[in-house]
Point group: C2
Chain length 190, copies 2
């Protein structure tokens, strides 16, 4: 008997065999697709607060990471803070950038395109008179967001644009931010 | 001549004098309220990417922090990653938690309520068959998000609930996530 060590097929740093295995598993058992992501946040004083991110529910069970992530948010001085971290609006842009990029990497891996470099710049425009409570005529949040990708890949420009378009159309956070999600807020006064 | 060192009026770690100064300045010159937040993201390989957050436009000029923030995003193994950081969906929850908390802290400071402890738990439900491209009948992103605040304050429970409600109604990221924002995606294929 000989054992043959088979290397996984990797593309763009993604294990393609695992990718198709996951897709087949969820196709065969749709309830594996039910996920619940979670974050716990604690006020640290002033504009500084910290989220702890560790477990989530997915593929039929609670998935617990070995270590938790701690992410600090703050505000710059001009918004009454001490710059303990990016501010919440900037984290929303980061979530969007990260999701579009990951979608692009996965889509390209599935379609056989090798990516060389992916960079993006995000700009979110707002009038903070809304959030400051000074005007009911402007909204609190971003009026619009512009994302500019610079992509170097082993593929012609047209193919790259098609991949980015496919990534956009399947991006989790793009959907959340462009279409909105019902949010319920409950309070326990301790 | 005597010089009197005046301590700023602080509440919940917020400089109240500066808060009212900012509100008055923006009231008097509404164009100071125009802000643009920014993030730059770079693919690091596989599901790992990193945003760099440094400057933004606000109060009539580009505001550059002394140091930039680097924020890493990843995916857990079950979503084909190596857990280099929270995933994009979790960062969206963090952005929401951070913004609601900061709004609450500022609103309470303005209304004279001293906060003692603020914690929140966020749960976002999704069916990832959308984002995996396996179903067009479920959306890509969260179907709904539930936020539960636990607040200890020098105020009765009813007052605390009223403050959280006011914070929600003025939260920047709550507006973004619950109402959605137009997002434009451009691609430069290098």
């Amino acid at each position: 008997m000989t054992q043959v060590a088979t290397e996984p097929t990797m593309r763009n740093g993604i294990n393609i065999d695992q990718m198709y295995g996951t897709l087949d598993a969820v196709k065969g058992m749709p309830e594996l697709g039910k996920f619940q992501f979670r974050a716990q946040n604690r006020w640290m004083g002033g504009s500084h607060n910290r989220s702890t991110i560790k477990d989530f529910y997915g593929a039929g069970q609670v998935q617990t990471r070995e270590q938790s992530f701690a992410v600090d948010a703050g505000e710059p001085a001009i918004l009454l803070g001490d710059d303990f971290g990016p501010n919440p609006a900037e984290f929303a842009l980061h979530a969007l950038a990260a999701c579009l990029t990951t979608s692009l990497v996965y889509v390209a891996a599935a379609r056989g395109v090798r990516l060389i470099e992916v960079e993006s710049t995000l700009e979110g425009n707002a009038d903070v008179r809304g959030a400051l409570g000074l005007s009911d005529e402007v909204r609190n949040g971003f009026q619009n967001i512009r994302v500019t990708f610079r992509v170097k890949a082993d593929a012609p420009a047209e193919k790259v644009k098609e991949l980015v378009e496919r990534a956009r159309s399947r991006s989790f956070v793009y959907d959340v931010i462009s279409n909105g999600v019902p949010v319920e807020v409950d309070v326990i006064a301790a």
